[in-house]
Amino acid sequence: MIDVLYFAWVRERIGIPKEQVQTSAATVADLVDELRSREDRYAAAFEDLAALRVALDQELTDFNAPLEGVREVAFFPPMTGG
């Protein structure tokens, strides 16, 4: 089980801020493929990966990163702080 978090318009499109996902995906990209195939709202949220960022255990990384040992995955658009 892995915690999956969504922020900003990713959260709005999927409709929830957080969920627990049972997965054996090897990489973030594999997890994204699993989620996309679930329901249209996931497909809509993950339509364009270039518009998304991902963090594993609160560290920014990329979609090729392996998921082994990871407890928390977060998906969100590019940040707009400051």
Partner: protein, 147 residues
Amino acid sequence: MTVRVQENPFDFGAEAQAFATGRTDAGAVVTFTGIVRDLVQSPLHEMMIEHYPGMTERALSGIEADARTRWDLRDVLIIHRHGILRPGDMIMMVATASPHRKDAFEAAEFLMDFLKSRAPFWKKERTGEGEEWVASKSEDEYALSRW
């Protein structure tokens, strides 16, 4: 070295004064403050700032630690708000103290460049025409390349 992420307003003047007061080790103090601007096209009702609790503090502390390895800094302060803000409200501030003005300036610019596109905050604007997420700017991403 202080990092604070908070929903409540902060008192910029008091923070700046406290940061600079009694400092005999660093002759140069730089502050940057980000303020909610009104919009020209359609008046801004409010700005909502979402963040990623936990990661935000980690990212800000990481950026601050990185700045301290690059410049001769005697102190650093980062405050960033989340929640609902209105035009004229202060969103965030950074402050740097160094013996050298160049270090104080560069470190403050570095912190701002990273805050803009590496700290997990997202801004949404609400105007009379509805709500819209603020898009990231390619110039903000580009600004990181100089460091």
